[in-house]
Amino acid sequence: MEQKPNLIEKQITMSIPCTFSTGPYMGRFLREIRENKRFVANKCPQCGRTMLPPRIVCALCNVEAGEWVELSDRGTLISFDVVSIPTINPMTGKMREVPYATGNVLLDGGDATLWHFLEEKDPSRIRVGMRVQAVFREEGRTGAITDILHFRTIEK
């Protein structure tokens, strides 16, 4: 007879569909990507730092940051990691495919970084200080951060 387990386990998937509001700051950032394939950041009127993604106040100065600047789609890689051990994507409930690489890119024209996927997944071919450029989805951009596919290496 089949041995039934004596230690009981229950599997439950938390599954909650949500509707998220972008608000005007994230909304502008994402719309510029969707419609114009370009990056914009907002700037603190007091300390002058640029913020990515854009947000309502400068955390250092606690003032509203209403000035906008355009940034390049090219930048310098500040840090990166290559993930080999998969984890679950909480938006799909499925394991992510590995390996994948992500990095913080300091976009030209500002002092803020954007974190995204890197096209290059071999850690021996990635280095801090490397120049990278955003690759946008040509068709079917929806105003999501995944309208950017990844950053590709433009200079090693």
Binding site: I16, T19, N62
Partner: protein, 385 residues
Amino acid sequence: MNERVAIVAWAQTAYEACKPHQRVQEMVYEVVKKVREQTGLKFSEDGTGIDNAITASDDIWDARTISDTPVGDVVGAHHRSEEKVGQDGAQAVFYACAGILSGHYDVTLVVAHCKESQPASRNLITNLTFDPFFQRSLGLDYLSAAALQARAYMDRYGISPEQCARVVAKSYNNARGNPLILRARELSVDEVIRSPLIADPIRELDAYPVTDGACALILAREEKAKKITDKPVWIDGMGNAYDAYFLGDRDLWDCQSLKLAASKAYRMAGIKDARKEIDVAEVSAFYSYQELLWTEGLGFCPPGEGGKLLDSGATKISGQIPVNPSGGVLVGSPTIVAGMARVIEAAIQVRGEGGSRQVSKVRTALAHGTSGPCGQLHTVLILKG
């Protein structure tokens, strides 16, 4: 430490079904900006400004773990002190008071936020509270749990659906004096009774509606409070208590943890007869029967007589013990925000700023919040002018 703690400023967003044009950080900034403008205070740990922030929010409601991180920037938490209370906002106020009364902080910003419109259904979230082995797969959520309590309470004491409907009608009509409640309107008992049953005996209008909103207040220790405003609202009593986790462990027709929380708050504030000494109460009733049950737990009437108290007119704005002149939670006050909005509405009453919802001659007000199913955790605060 013998100094008292006071609320020195507050702000609330309008409470509406959905705020599609704001993320939580923008919703919270709207109210933080107002309290900073009211007081002129900066964020500063050198004794001249706001030196701590307490935020109330929930990970699952926000679909964001460590749900206070998005609002960190707007509450001055960058390189400063902030802590999250994952409970009803009245509990966040309690916790913030403790930080000041213990001498750790001088001036604390307290905020609460929730966008109930964000998840497809509130019931999907509240189902997660329950035990995965014994309750969750039966589909229990806060609405069906409340219905179990409503039935037990109404059966035991002969509370009628009409009495519950009268609570709703009173709430909506009171809310017409509250410009922040966008749903306020004339509402008849008849319309409540004719609304469809959703979980017997609870009808659609007996249940609090899906709402987005946020609120903020600033607390200060006595010496600072007197410098910031000439109308501080003192928090002179507070208490909280938890009830059992499994619904079947409790006598659902009773609210033991509320009685315990209230008695602690009353003792601290020196209140001996709540019915006589409290001039107005803002209580968190998420379902109409709860307003009746909580008035019993707070000692405004003997056990089982919540319906009788309502029928006597005592809980009207012009009555002896007005309950929810703001309209309370039933007209729209999101979970987590609800209890803190009650604290603010009670403070408004103490300062005499209630406009057409103002109760006459308020010196002592009670604010109440609750978390968990069927009023599991209760927090009671006593405010004085």
